[in-house]
Every structure is written in C-alpha cells, then in structure tokens.
Symmetry: C2
Subunit: 305 residues, 2 copies
Amino acid sequence: MSFSITVLGSGAATPTIGRNPSGIFVNIGNNYFLIDCGEGTQMQLRRFNLKAQRINHVFISHLHGDHFFGLVGLISTFHLTGRKETLHIHSDSQLQEIIALQLKHTQTQLVYPLEFHPFSQPHETLFENEQVTVKSFPLVHKITSTGFLFSEKQKPRKIKKDFIQHEEVSIKDIKRIKAGEDYVSPQGRVYLNRDITIAAPPPRQFAYCSDTRFDEKIADYIKNVNLLYHEASFLDDELDTAKEKFHSTASQAATIAAKAKADQLLLGHFSARYKDLNGFMKEASKVFPNTVLAEDGLTITIPLK
Amino acid sequence: MSFSITVLGSGAATPTIGRNPSGIFVNIGNNYFLIDCGEGTQMQLRRFNLKAQRINHVFISHLHGDHFFGLVGLISTFHLTGRKETLHIHSDSQLQEIIALQLKHTQTQLVYPLEFHPFSQPHETLFENEQVTVKSFPLVHKITSTGFLFSEKQKPRKIKKDFIQHEEVSIKDIKRIKAGEDYVSPQGRVYLNRDITIAAPPPRQFAYCSDTRFDEKIADYIKNVNLLYHEASFLDDELDTAKEKFHSTASQAATIAAKAKADQLLLGHFSARYKDLNGFMKEASKVFPNTVLAEDGLTITIPLK
C-alpha cells in the first residue's frame, strides 16, 4: 500500500518566490487527503501533477490565513470542473462561515456537496475507514491550532502461500485463519495459527504539527511515528521571537522528534527572513540526525518495514 | 511620465499552469494601482518584481472568485510586512463584509488603515489626483461587473526654452503663461501665448474591460483609448457559450476596440479549455490588427505621441 506525502508549501505567513504557504498532500493507499490550504495550493496541486479531484477530506490546522486562504479557490475550481463527490472540511467552526459568505456573494450554488466537520474536542477521531484513521491532537499557538496523526490500520496476519497450495482450505476457513484461529484439517491434523500465517508489516504513521510553540506533550501524542512534519519558523538565535509568536525553532522541532522516537523529521514553515536554510538543518540534525528540509514539491514515501 | 501596465494573470476562472487568474498592475507616473486580485496575485507581484507595497488603490471589477480571492492574502501580507499607508479598495459593497469576516476570524488587527469605497453608480470618478483620474463604466455580466478607465490629465502647455532663456521672466509670469495668458514684457512688447508655448502631448488612456458579454455601448465609454484590455474567454465557435455565460469572444473584443478607435487591444481571460491561443490572435486581428495576447508578466508601455 502506498503511503506518501507531498509538500505543497514550505513557507510561513509571508509567501516568497519558491515557497508557497502551508499545504501537504497525503496519499495512503489511494485515500487522498489535503492538510492546510494556503493561497495558491490549487496551483501547486496542478504543478506537481497530484490527483486534486480525488481529495475527499481537507484538514485545516488553524485559522491563520497562510493555512486556509486557498481553500475557497479550491472549492470553486472543484465546482467549475464539475466535481460530484462530497468534499469534507475538518476545521475550526468559523471556517464554515467564511466559505459560506464567499459562496453567497459570488452567487455560487455548488454542484457537489460540501460538508463541514467542526473540531469538537482536543483529541478526536476525524476520519476512519478500513485502511486509515486520522486523529487530532492539540498544539499551542496564538489561536487554537490542531495537529493531525494519520495512521494506517494494522492488517491481519497473512496466510503462508505454501500452506494454501498444499491443503484444500475453504474460503470460510481462510476467513477464520485470518481472524487468528488455528486450522483443523478434515483428517484431524491441527495447524497452529502462528505456524501457517505471517505477520503483516507494522502500520505506518505520519504526524503533522502545524504552527505551535514548543510543547513536550506533543511528543506523547505521536509516539513512534514514522514521519513527523513539525513547523520550524525560526533558528535558535530567534528563540525569544519564536516563544513570543507561538512558533518553534529547528532544534525544538528536533527535540519533539527525538522524544517521540520518530523515524524521520520533516521541517517546514520557514520564516521569509531566512534566505539560506542551512542553519535549520545544522541546528536540527544536532538533536535529531534524520532530518529533511521541506521544499515545495518534495515527496516523501514511508517504506514498509 | 511613465504609463505602463503589467499582466499578473491572463487566465479565466480555472487557473492553469502559467496562467494565473485576473490581475493587472498599473503604473502611471509612479501612481501604482492594482486591478483585480485573483488567487496568487501577491506571488505574481513578487515574481515580476513590481512595487506591491506602493499600491494604494485596488479596483475589483466584480465578485467572482477569480477576480478577488487573492485580495485577503495581499491585505494580510501588507499587514505582516508593516505597511503604514492607507489601502483603498474600490469594489462592490459585499467585498467589505468578506474581508472583515476573515480579518475577524484570523484575529487580525491591521497595522495600517484599510478603506472601502463601494461603487455607488454605473459611471463615477473613483480616483483623482493631479496626474490621473480613474472612472468606472458598466459591463454586462451574470453579476454586476465594472470596467475602469485610467486617464492621464492634460498637462498645461510648456513654455519654449529659448523664450525663457532670452527674456527675464518672473515665476509669477511663468505661472500666468502656463495658465494660457499672453506675456507683455517690461518694454511693452506683447508675446502671444501660442507663440511662446508648445502643447503638451495628448493625455494617454487605458481601459480595462473585465468579464462582460459583448456590448457595443462599451465602445462609447472608452472612445480613442490608447490601450484597451478586453476579456476574450472564447473563440467564435463558442459564441453561444460566450453569450450564455456572459463572456466575449476574441472577435467581439476586437469589434469593441475597432468601434472605440483604440490604438491597441490586449486580450486576456482565456478559458482553460484552450491550450493553443493562436485562434484568439487570428480571429481578433481580422477585425482589429493591432492586437496582443496577454501573458503573465507581460508589460505594455503606452508611448507619448
């Protein structure tokens, strides 16, 4: 099953040439999600040839413009291009009012259903199907800000190929074995479940930590995550600015990755004041070596173990 | 005095790679204006190295998203980069409500004054200073749509250099001569105004015709304009679509240019369905030869005659 994310915007509130505001496209087994939708996100989806029309769920971390100003444009383009599927928006409640007012004044009657799912508590399951769950957790920003944890579901143990080839096992039996039962052949021979099956690979997880002050509790919410995106607006020489503006530094983001025992850290949301990003890599990798800097268009695939 | 316009977006409602939604940057003698502000306009201003911070007046032709979804982002970036000057928005009245709601929910208290000037009648003077006037005129679209005519003011006649060099003329006299009076020397010799002055070049004009159905009356509003931007969403084979959607074809735009006796026609707002734009040039130039196709980043300077 595929599990990849693509960075649509690696910049902070003020967009720069080459760094769009926030947005991440997620593909987990052909379930497509969008996290945040800064201005220009729809153009980025097009630029990087991503399956924009197949996004059914959008998660907006918080209501600062660089995280949602592009949403109304995406919604409008879906309308103009004849979308049929329902689009689900998971966000703070006020976003519904913002979108509704713009649809009203542009006299737009959407040709597809748009459903808002306002956040109701700091930790909740926002989405679940047979393959994926998306859960929220609280961040610490000037305004309410929410992180997201995307988790593959644990797959059942697989029946060994040579067992199926040698024995005449019915479909009913296969279901039972997959559910963990042992198998008894018509001749009365008992096969222990652990001998005739192999474990599926461990499920993969991606966590998205949008705008937030450094908060150690975040590490507890995302323990053992394979890939952690964490904002890193500043370097350590701007530690006070980071604190004052409720943002994080590169080394603070790396500290969260280390405490969470993440496999890999992806830094983004770089303040426009930094022309050269080497400092981010230097400061973060001291604390957490397996760090990558976000770039618009960068795709990271989480491999099966 | 400079008089130039730069295309920020040449596409229609659905943005394409390389064609942003509508926006035009206008520079008349270092008075900077923005017409329309589709999503991504602030990035285009940056990309083309234009003096975004010096824009004091924004004119929004109508409230379809591809003409204003980028405005809230531009307003926010001006805020984040510490703008001080008042920003004036000229538009239909509902835009104020849309912007205000977003500033409220993003908890933004702008650090500079933002003033809305809602359109009040179909023809009005929206802006005037010593060098420029901006007037509005009605277009014909699904919703109220407004065109804009940017006019340089007629400059006073210039006093001939050799006259000033040979005669001892006071500053008071110069003002009188510029105001059209004849000059009488201390010796009682009379110099006729027409002999000691030369006419300033004729004032230049740029007209912006945003989304509109073909309407011959438009030509009357913009007679003898030097440069006409007119939307051309479709080709002639989509004449019925154009009519139904309240848009124009390339040859209809050219007909307006011809009837207005414009010097030059700039076509834009091309529907995303056209990958190749040669047809637009072909159909328009049959009716009006001096036609140019808009491209993102294209600057046109209107020369003095």
